[in-house]
């Protein structure tokens, strides 16, 4: 089980192009659907905490998932796992720096990969929303938050704090 956890995160790290939220579709499919370690809502809660905590989101959420499942050892395995393949690749590529940077092959692959990441992230929005958009308030809040982020360029942490405050008021028990 621990080995599987480690290897899962090695795999996620190996295909986590783009960093940040681009890992979400992978987490969703592998951790929620495939292994059923968490629900979609729990994944979102961990993501929110990972965003407001300093440090890269992908590392934070990997640590979070590992720790919640198997304590400190789990956290260690997921965090190390997710950086294993990228670190090895960096070590190799840094030797052939010039060739890699000017490589036509790499540039051609990324012409396809970058727009695909946008599609992947939208796919996550689509599959996560049934667990989140529960009433008319969710839709109103969603529009407000997107507007604040895109139009007014409000910092993500401020948006999350605002949403916590509004959530508490709207859903006051």
């Amino acid at each position: 089980m621990l080995l599987r956890l480690f290897l899962t995160f090695v795999g996620i790290g190996a295909i986590a192009f783009g960093g940040g939220y681009a890992v979400l579709p992978l987490f969703e499919r592998i951790i929620v659907d495939q292994y059923e370690w968490f629900t979609r809502s729990e994944l979102l809660d961990m993501l929110a905490v990972s965003q407001v905590t300093p440090g890269p989101i992908a590392i934070n959420s990997a640590t979070f998932i590992g720790f919640t499942l198997f304590g400190v050892l789990g956290a260690f395995l997921t965090t190390v796992g997710v950086v294993t393949v990228p670190s090895i690749l960096i070590t190799i590529v840094s030797v052939y720096r010039e060739r890699f940077k000017n490589s036509k092959v790499v540039q051609a692959i990324f012409r396809g990969l970058r727009p695909a990441l946008a599609g992947l992230i939208f796919a996550s929005v689509y599959t996560l929303s049934p667990d989140v958009m529960v009433d008319q308030w969710s839709y109103i809040l969603f529009l407000i938050f997107v507007l604040l982020l895109v139009k007014f360029r409000l910092h993500p942490i401020l948006v999350i704090l605002l949403s916590a405050f509004l959530g508490l008021i709207i859903y006051w028990p």
Binding site: A48, R111, V134
Partner: protein
Amino acid sequence: MIPLFEREFVKRYKYLSEDEFFDALVICQSLPGVIAVNFAVYIGLKLRGRFGALVSAIGVALPSFLIIMVIATFLFRYIDNEYVAAVFKGVRVSVIALVFTAGFRLFWRHRHLYGVFIALMTFTLVAIAYVHPFYVIVMMGAYGYLTTKIREVVSHDAS
């Protein structure tokens, strides 16, 4: 985090020149993984070899690692509390909004026909047809490579 790296490593400690910094950035963004960690490994490697890479990777991940463990200990203990649940009902919406915004920004930068087509295909395959993201990533990388190659060959013949 990238401006922070630039200030520390280029301006303050002069470990890298401005050009080297941007080369490093391109490489770190083109490889899978977390950009900040990739960067740390790259700089560690350049300064002190493999051991340097290990030390800087640990350095960049350690604060997150410790803070998250403290928070994780509390979060799921109180998640059933009605007030905490109310907070997270709001927070989840903002996370969806954040994810949507990240996707939208990326999409907007590639809103030409080719980019829209790939984004739409990826969305359909992953969200509707439920294909594993891994295969779709490989497919779209291959698609980018092939279409670029084909275009090169065609324009070569034409000229």
